[in-house]
Amino acid sequence: MSQASNPDKYYVPEGSWWPLVSTIALFVIFLGAALTFNIGATGSPVLILGFLLLLVVFVGWFGVVIRESENGLYNSQVDVSFRMGMLWFIFSEVMFFAAFFGALYYARIYSVPWIGGEGAGEATNEFLWPEFKSAWPLLSPPSEYGFTEFKETIGAWGVPFWNTMILLTSGGTVTWAHWGLIREDRKQLIIGLALTVLLGIIFVLMQAEEYMHAYGDLGLTLNSGIYGATFFMLTGFHGFHVSMGTLMLAVILFRAMKGHFTPKNHFAFEAVAWYWHFVDVVWIGLFIFVYWI
């Protein structure tokens, strides 16, 4: 097993049960979720079992990879493969968010104005909901049946603005940590990462606070017509990604404290940092298009 020291030789990892086990975990999760949707809480033990299995997979599979990496099994070609894989994965995430941004755009530019009678929607408006006036934010949906109206939206310049500042700062702290890693300044690495994790946690907490405010005081819910739908889907998936990112950063912090990573070999750190920047950029999009304009 001296492939790392012999760069002319290719590296192919040995077989592993984890891919199969993780697909089983996902299968159980999907099955559990489908059962829960169909028959209610009776199905949820399956769902929970699935998540537990997935947890085992995360610990196990990443454990193997980390151990192999720390033992110097991966040569620089493997490192590049990992990097490319991560970048393409992030690109797929970008496209996932694009679907929801597209929905927001479509609702604001087309569907709401059309229902309100603009453009080709004159007859639509007249026959469906003649009372309905197009507006954004859409406080009261066209039909009064099945949807909840809400009082006001969450303004951009309160919590969302501070959250923007928090995420931007955290992008800075993670870069500062990276500099520390490259200059072999462990302390700077650890402090930078710890700050980033902390900022991530604060962001998520503030976001949770906002959601409670929206649901409790404003009456803004998933059920508040297209505004609530796009608002919660976009910010919700983003919040989920921030939570995942924070968790990953925490793992990296833990590894940094255990002495992992060298200035040359720290793919995991960079992958998580890239992911963090991606989450950051998505937030900027959210801040502008969901909260601000």
């Binding site: 097993m1 290719y10 192919v12 990892p13 040995e14 077989g15 592993s16 049960w17 984890w18 891919p19 199969l20 993780s22 697909t23 996902l26 299968f27 999907f30 099955l31 979720a33 489908a34 949707f37 169909n38 196990g60 599979w61 193997v64 070609q77 590049v80 493969s81 490319m84 894989g85 393409w88 994965f89 690109f91 797929s92 496209m95 996932f96 968010f97 694009a98 679907a99 929801f100 597209g102 479509y106 609702a107 569907s111 709401v112 453009g119 080709a120 639509t124 859409l138 949906p141 066209p142 099945g146 949807f147 998933l222 059920n223 017509g225 297209i226 609530g228 739908a229 796009t230 889907m233």
Partner: protein
């Protein structure tokens, strides 16, 4: 615990692992490629059985064998299986088997991700096929999953949505792997413009997959929340729009059809030069044409929605971009024909299927052009004409090239020649029957027979009867394919390393059957000829 999950560490590189667990834990591109291909072949017969049921019901007007709900679920499941369970896995299987050998690599770049991407498939299809046995039956709203209809799906609904998510993850994983492999694992001297076209078409396909499948995942996620969490993305009553789903779906859907067909272009571009014994005509223009098609495929999606209602500017824009796709497609067909021009041609089975592809796929391309003309599509939309169109591009396009590729590379994989006589029988039976099956559907569509319907007026009876007979013959002929493959795997004439005297490319420099690890060390750069030669 984690350590015990690793196999025979230390000496794994010297020989192929044995025992059945090898298949479960494998990181080998050939093992995984074989599993993809076998899976795809099995699904081909499951999806095919559903098609046989459809043609049985349509043999005569009136309702005779199945009730309409079940008929609709057959149509829906058939499409989902053929697209996500047959053609896409088959192409990933070929990518696995061939790309490392073609670029001089030992294996795929991310072998465990590779295994993961494969193992999703049986589980995802278990989720989907399970719905056949639950109350309310399988999804029946069509593979396009348009709301509000699809929201009326019963207990099968979340299974459908999650199966789509799951399959998307598999495809994205597979695509990431291919891209990392091609961009990072090429042997020294294998420059980008020396890559075989199959590799090039897969680069572009991989990009299309990563760009479009997450959009589908987003779309079905919105369906899920619309049904269970009270959102109103696709409900006008809440300010959304059911048509918005169609836009998002087809933003995925049209690139998807190119995901299904681009690797076919690569395969045909390998086979025709081999049996015409001439270098491929216009290699670089082929690469640029594929890239152009991929780009255009993102700005044509609403040609599936001409009749749904769009501003006039939209109808025009999407018509022009759609027709524009014919240009790079025409470049490709021209180059294939020019490659054969004055070549020393022989007609072994792979070549027959490749030629069948060129001719019959072009028919599908032409009917696509007709559909792309907005005012004309108003007549044809949702008729059997559309069914004929996409079966010409998918069956005589994608499936034909998959079969051609199988005959072409099977000797390299197994070390044996397949039975040429039986191969020719397979070709002629398939080609005659597939045209009996699908050509009359053009006439049915032009005469106004709607698609996705179990019954029809009596004036359509003759053509439907002819079509059904063609369908059964075609279905039965494919059993011959399985027989030929099994026979070839078991034994047969020993294949030489080059297999075909006109074959060029790194994969033919390896032994037949190909060794377990393709290239342990990079190949000699002087053996790299390049796609242009």
């Amino acid at each position: 615990m984690a350590d015990s999950m690793n196999l025979d560490s230390g000496h794994h590189e010297h020989h192929a692992p044995s025992g059945w667990t090898r298949w479960l834990t494998t990181t080998n591109h050939k093992d995984i490629g074989s599993m993809y291909l076998i899976f795809s072949l099995i699904m081909f017969f499951i999806g095919g059985a559903m098609a046989m049921i459809i043609r049985l019901e349509l043999f005569q007007p009136g309702l005779q064998f199945v009730d309409p709900q079940f008929y609709n679920s057959m149509v829906t499941m058939h499409a989902l299986i053929m697209i996500f369970g047959v053609v896409m896995p088959a192409w990933t299987g070929f990518a696995n088997w061939l790309i490392p050998m073609m670029i001089g690599a030992p294996d795929m770049a991310l072998p465990r991700l590779n295994n993961w991407s494969f193992w999703i498939l049986p589980f995802a299809f278990s989720l989907l096929l399970l719905t056949l046995f639950i109350p309310g039956g399988a999804p029946a709203g069509g593979w396009t999953m348009y709301p509000p209809l699809v929201l009326q799906t019963g207990a099968a609904f979340p299974f459908l949505i999650f199966a789509v998510h799951f399959l998307g993850a598999s495809s994205i994983g597979g695509a990431i792997n291919v891209l990392a492999t091609v961009f990072n694992m090429r042997a020294p001297g294998m420059t980008l413009l020396k890559l075989p076209l199959f590799v090039w078409t897969w680069i572009i396909t991989g990009f299309l997959l990563i760009a479009s499948l997450p959009v589908l995942a987003g779309a079905v996620t919105m369906l899920l929340t619309d049904k269970y969490f009270g959102t109103s993305f696709f409900s006008a009553a809440g300010g959304g729009d059911p048509v918005m789903f169609q836009h998002i779906f087809w933003f995925f859907g049209h690139p998807e059809v190119y995901i299904l067909i681009l690797p076919a272009f690569g395969v045909v571009s390998a086979i025709i030069p081999t049996f015409a014994r001439k270098p491929l005509f216009g290699y670089q223009s082929m690469v640029y044409a594929v890239a152009a098609i991929a780009f255009l495929s993102f700005i044509v999606w609403a040609h599936h929605m001409f009749t749904v209602g769009m501003p006039l500017a939209g109808e025009l824009f999407f018509m022009y971009t759609t027709i524009l796709i014919a240009v790079p497609t025409g470049v490709k067909v021209f180059n294939w024909v020019a490659t054969m021009w004055k070549g020393a041609m022989t007609f072994e089975t792979p070549m027959l299927f490749a030629l069948g592809f060129v001719i019959l796929f072009t028919i599908g391309g032409f009917s696509g052009l007709m559909l792309g003309v907005t005012p004309v599509d108003f007549q044809y939309h949702d008729t059997y004409f559309v069914v004929a169109h996409f079966h010409y591009v998918l069956v005589t396009g994608a499936i034909y090239s998959l079969i051609a590729a199988t005959y072409f590379w099977l000797p390299k994989w197994t070390g044996h020649m397949y039975n040429e006589t039986l191969g020719k029988w397979h070709f002629w039976l398939s080609t005659i029957s597939v045209n009996v099956l699908f050509f009359p559907q053009h006439f049915l569509g032009l005469a106004g027979m709607p698609r996705r319907i179990p019954d029809y007026s009596v004036q359509f009876a003759e053509f439907n009867m002819i079509s059904s007979i063609g369908g059964w013959v075609y279905g039965l002929s494919q059993l011959l394919f399985v027989y030929i493959i099994i026979k070839c795997v078991r034994g047969g004439k020993k294949a030489s390393d080059r297999v075909w005297d006109g074959a060029h490319g790194l994969e033919w420099t390896l032994a037949s059957p190909a060794p377990y690890h393709s290239f342990d060390t990079p190949p000699d750069p002087s053996t790299i000829e390049g796609g242009v030669r």
